[in-house]
């Protein structure tokens, strides 16, 4: 178990023996040199050691800051991870902290290169659990070839954090320029790359107070490879988003507002795992409002939509991809002019007039797919 220290030796040993070893012990580092820097030797600051990423770039470690050669245009992002439970079916907080930041870079058309890794760990946290988390981080980074080049660890007194919190920041090289929500326009086709709601259901089903034994695995995965394959071969992609917090519903609502247009989607085209449907029905949730961690939503110009769908489907993470809807101008709403007018009238009374998501239900009746708000609270009956 971890004990809290004000820094100094204990923390160095923690970083050395567990974190550093876990991240660089196996691969990517000059093993001869590293052996000298197991943090047990007293001369650790006298020499340098290097880590090497898959493109052969050598990074000097153990300095106060990583010195990087930056490409011309970079994307830079950061994300904090506090997921409970820390370990869940299909992943853990470590895997999530890499995939989450990798995906934020990827959806901007940036190839993920470097990560920072910050831990806030509660005193008493099990070292074995930390080792598992570090291994997940190492494994998940290797999938994209992204490298952890700097980091920090703080151990705080019991009760001042909840187990472990992780922050990762990421730098990526912009390979595909110009992806933006503001490109989205009426006519664009909406594609989801996989099942909706798996991560949210997997995590919530294990959460204290619910604890249901359902066979749902988080979809947590790094999406760069799939997104790269799409952007490499298909033009006409307006925007991409990973549907994390707030799920598909949040992405579509944000897009609708940015495009000042309605998005019209069909419920029976949205891929949802049956176990997730059942879980949602039981607790009164919408699968579309649950987080996904390995699924991206694409807005594509109509003439390229089929092509994009095929490329996504040919990737192992995109097998369940589906065209789910269209961006429609307020005046050519699919339900016809009357319905468009009615939409405006109704919307005027309770909602802003542009930028709604309308879902065609399984019996053909349209309804609103609302922006998720607040904490999802299970209903009692």
């Amino acid at each position: 178990m971890l004990s809290h220290g004000g820094g100094g030796k204990e923390t160095s040993e923690l970083i050395g023996s567990i974190i550093f070893n876990g991240l660089y012990g196996q691969k990517g580092i000059d093993a001869d040199k590293y052996d000298k820097y197991g943090f047990s030797s007293s001369d650790r600051h006298k020499d340098v050691c290097y880590a090497q990423n898959i493109s052969g770039q050598k990074i000097k470690l153990l300095e106060d800051a990583a010195v990087l050669k930056s490409p011309q245009n970079i994307a830079f992002t950061t994300d904090c991870f506090t997921v409970k439970p820390i370990f869940f079916k299909g992943g853990d907080i470590g895997k999530l902290s890499v995939a989450g930041t990798v995906n934020d870079l990827s959806v901007m058309g940036a190839k993920p290169l470097f990560l920072s890794l910050g831990f806030i760990i509660e005193e008493g946290f099990f070292l074995a659990d930390l080792e598992k988390i570090i291994k997940s981080i190492s494994d998940e980074s290797a999938k994209t070839g992204v490298m952890v080049v700097t980091g920090d660890t703080k151990v705080v007194p019991a009760g001042k954090a909840d187990g472990i919190f992780i922050n990762t920041s990421g730098i990526g090289e912009i390979i595909y320029d110009g992806l933006s929500v503001f490109n989205i326009a009426p006519g664009d086709i909406i594609i989801v790359s996989g099942n909706v709601g798996d991560h949210g259901a997997a995590v919530m089903s294990r959460r204290e107070g619910i604890e249901m034994d359902v066979e749902i695995e988080s979809d947590c995965a790094s999406l760069w490879d799939m997104i790269d394959s799409v952007l490499k071969s298909v033009t006409g992609i307006s925007a991409i988003r990973d549907a994390t917090r707030g799920g598909l519903a949040a992405v579509l609502n944000e897009w609708a507002i940015a495009a000042e247009a309605d998005i019209y989607a069909e419920e029976n085209k949205i891929p949802v795992n049956d176990a997730v449907k059942g879980f949602c029905e039981l607790l009164g949730f919408e699968p579309y409002q649950l987080a996904c961690e390995g699924m991206a939503v694409f807005a594509v110009k109509p003439e390229f939509a089929e092509e994009a769908l095929n490329v996504i489907k040919s990737h192992s993470l995109g097998k369940n991809a589906s065209i789910i809807g269209t961006v429609v101008g307020n005046n050519n709403f699919a339900g016809g002019k009357d319905e468009a007018r009615q939409t405006k009238v109704n919307a005027g009374s309770i909602r802003q007039s542009a930028g709604k998501v309308i879902l065609k239900g399984i019996y053909g009746v349209n309804r609103l797919l609302d922006y998720p708000s607040g904490e999802l609270l299970p209903r009692i009956c």
């Binding site: 059942g278 029905e281 009746v365 609270l377 009692i380």
Partner: protein, 373 residues
């Protein structure tokens, strides 16, 4: 997961819709009592598919919605006492009291825990670090959830746990229905009654609806297929002028219900003289309380002096927050619809609910806000 999809099949639904349209002789007003039914009707658009034929009215069957302000205030008062852990069902957290809610109290650092099953409270109680805490369960719900509270009591007594107390807010389905029908000006032709209540109680509890008031009653489940086959049975009752209690949910409900659950409830609970409902006011014999012999577990008795202070404060001028413009009372009685209310979607919305029906995601206003555009 066939049980998930079998009762949603599109061809079955279309067949039922056309049967209802063929057989119905005049437009009817049907009240679904339970929020779960309201939600399913709105989500699948059954009200739109039957527009001009069935006018669905949304009844008082959401236990979160009908909980009055003063009971929330009591829960807040209790969680502010020293050494208290308050356990509640999730959707109770947001319900506004006079000046706060349990979710706001949790944000202030009070120990409010969300549970899904009352038996989770055993785990909280048996945690050694909670030995000197008072663990209070804010128990709400209709006949469906009362047996679970009774099971909790049974278990804490069996294990000799002496620091768990229950704030009982369990209510009964039939009294508000009678209150609606007793008002005399109701246009309701029949009631769709919640299947899960009758799983526990059997079908007998609705006998007054046909026999005393001459209205139709059908007990059914929550899938689109269940709701529509229930509506079809009801249309036939109305056509043939033979009000009765019918079961359209025979896979789960029989006349007698779950005897074991009923015995468990009767062992611990007794009916209160009256209980206040949001939107209705006080309804006689509509709520439960612990029997006197279990008073050591009754939070209302254990925290009596604190709660009495609260009542004195309330009476001495702090006004309660039930808005005069809010139409929840009318909506719960089937006299108005959510969009008739001047507050709906404007000052009253799910983030800032003013009335009972916006509070829980199961409430009628919340369903209208969520699904209609």
């Amino acid at each position: 997961m066939e049980i998930y999809s079998d009762f949603k099949r599109k061809d079955d639904i279309e067949r039922l819709i056309s049967a209802i349209r063929d057989e119905i002789k005049r437009p009817v007003n049907i009240m679904e009592i339970c929020g779960g039914h309201t939600h399913a009707i709105m989500k699948y658009g059954l009200n739109i598919l039957l527009k001009d034929k069935i006018n669905f009215l949304h009844g008082p069957g959401c236990p979160v919605c009908v909980m009055p302000v003063n009971r929330i205030d009591e829960a807040i008062e209790i969680v502010n006492s020293a050494g208290v852990i308050l356990a509640v069902y999730g959707d109770m957290m947001r319900v506004p009291g006079t000046s706060s809610s349990l979710i706001k109290e949790r944000a202030k650092g009070k120990d409010v825990r969300m549970i899904y099953s009352p038996l989770d409270i055993i785990k909280i109680a048996e945690d050694k670090s909670h030995k000197n805490k008072k663990i209070v369960f804010f128990a709400i719900g209709f006949e469906t959830t009362t047996p679970m509270t009774a099971a909790l009591l049974e278990e804490i007594i069996k294990r000799g746990i002496d620091n768990v107390f229950i704030h009982v807010n369990h209510v009964l389905v039939p009294p508000p229905i009678n209150a609606i029908l007793d008002s005399g000006d109701s246009l309701i032709d029949g009631f769709i009654c919640p299947g899960h209540v009758s799983v526990m109680t059997g079908s007998g509890i609705y006998a007054d609806i046909p026999h005393k008031y001459g209205k139709a009653a059908v007990i059914t489940g929550f899938e689109p297929y269940d709701i529509l086959s229930g509506a079809l049975l009801m249309i036939r009752q109305i056509n043939e002028k033979r009000p009765s209690v019918e079961i359209a949910y025979k896979r789960a409900v029989n006349e007698d219900g779950n005897k074991k659950a009923q015995d468990l409830v009767n062992k611990y609970f007794t009916v209160r003289e009256e209980f206040e409902w949001r939107g209705f006011g006080k309804i006689p014999k509509s709520g439960l309380k612990l029997k006197n012999e279990f008073k050591d577990f009754d939070a209302e008795i254990i925290f009596k002096s604190k709660l009495e202070e609260l009542y004195m404060q309330l009476e001495s001028g702090r006004t309660r927050k039930e808005s005069l413009l809010c139409k929840c009372g009318e909506i719960l009685k089937g006299k108005s619809k959510p969009d008739d209310c001047p507050l709906f979607g404007k000052t009253c919305n799910p983030e800032n609910p003013i009335g009972a029906c916006m509070v829980s995601s199961e409430g009628a206003c919340a369903a209208y806000y969520k699904y209609r555009y």
